[in-house]
Symmetry: C2
Subunit: 265 residues, 2 copies
């Protein structure tokens, strides 16, 4: 295990837990020696990525993390660009809408607007969504590089509910359907009683870089809701893609949305 991987797993652990952590607790969770843990923490503190409470000696994520994220957002304004669309969709549908971005580690949920209804779906920001078990994941896979699809098809299929996809054929069927319709669906694949619809956000080369999804309690689904929500996320997702890539290089051809046609699948 490389040193940076160790350092990052410390950061992950600090991010995962709600409360601040002491040295021993932290070392125990990540499975490193106390000395090693502390040496890494000191390095991270010097870089500003971790802070230590002077009084309780507990560790937490530092402002350097936020700084790096802000610098990234300045270069690639995914959140700033997508947020208005997410809010609007939440307003229009009255349901929970969430936005996710793909990274090598998985599909991370980056923005969520929860429904105002009492019975609603809640998605924590920063959560990593399994590709095979969520509508967002299926939408992403439908417009991903073949390499990634194959990797997921091979891999294990951790079951989150009794309805989670568990075979490559089943997965591939969902993916094909999503590609044909432009949006994906998932019924209780990740959480009991939750129904989701998602559409991919496409990058310049037609490869999905994220997903936009609507999640509702299954009991609330009425006839026509699926198609209506599907059309909404598809429109929202391509709107986000156009804003993202239309503005940066040349905003002239934004309306033509030529990306989708060029998708290498």
């Amino acid at each position: 295990m490389s040193t940076v991987a160790k350092a990052v797993s410390l950061l992950e652990t600090l991010g995962a837990d709600i409360s601040e952590l002491g040295l021993a607790e932290l070392a125990g969770r990540v499975g490193f020696d106390k000395t090693t843990t502390r040496r890494l923490l000191i390095s991270l503190i010097e870089c500003g990525l971790v802070e230590q409470d002077e009084r309780s000696r507990c560790y937490r994520l530092g402002a350097g993390i936020s700084r790096l994220a802000l610098l990234r957002e300045a270069q690639f304004p995914f959140l700033r660009t997508a947020t208005p669309t997410v809010e609007r969709l939440a307003q229009e549908t009255g349901e929970t809408v969430h936005l996710s971005e793909y990274s090598s580690r998985g599909l991370v949920s980056v923005h969520v607007v929860e429904s105002t209804k009492a019975n609603r779906v809640s998605v924590p920001v920063g959560m990593i969504l399994p590709l095979h078990a969520t509508a967002s994941g299926i939408a992403l896979l439908a417009f991903a590089r073949k390499k990634l699809r194959d990797a997921v098809a091979e891999g294990p299929f951790p079951a989150f509910t009794r309805h989670t996809v568990s075979a490559p054929e089943e997965l591939s069927k969902l993916i094909e359907a999503a590609r044909a319709r432009g949006y994906s669906t998932s019924t209780q694949g990740f959480e009991e009683g939750v129904f989701s619809v998602a559409a991919p956000i496409l990058g310049v080369d037609g490869i999905a870089i994220g997903a936009l999804a609507i999640a509702t309690p299954q009991v609330r689904i009425r006839k026509g809701d699926i198609e209506r929500h599907g059309a909404a996320v598809a429109a929202g997702a391509s709107e986000i893609g156009e804003h993202l890539f239309g503005l940066l290089p040349s905003s002239a051809h934004a309306a033509a949305q030529p990306q989708r046609a060029r998708a290498r699948i």
Copy 2:
């Protein structure tokens, strides 16, 4: 130099530059061997903190960075809490308002609302502000631990303009004045022609964790503006502090703002 420090300096470099960077360029900038740089990058990619463009082979900050920042924000909602106050102040004053948070590496600018006027001060988000040369830095120092003040008083005083503070006595005088008034001022200390007013945002123990500032072109300053802006940032900053720490432990005593009285200086 520790391995994690190297990895972080890679992240910093990727964040600093506008355009994406190739391996050779990146290795040159950080001063590591090409092989070393690449090995670190691969580790970072596996952790999701860096992404590589498939086509151009260029590297950029990854979604994992944003994810960690979102997890941090969930634990300690500094931005979410402070943003409304910043926006309101910008509205009320018509000038550029910016918010910064302290970390071991310095005072980082985390949110900025620029004035709508043509002649205005611009502050890039993610920038690190020098403690001795900015109003925000002085405000922070006035309510910082003695250790930090001493460290800054000793250290070098990089000059950004002809007016930058350059002696410990001068600095200490500014700090004393800021502590007495509750807000600090800086005249062209960091940038020619810019005048700033700032107030500290205090943590539970009365130690400053950040600052709120108004920055205006010096030529626009009229009689009474300084006092007016000073009162505004002081009120805004303590409002932010109360919201941040009033909500978490017990919101009952928020109005009493007992933190300021307990300041250990």
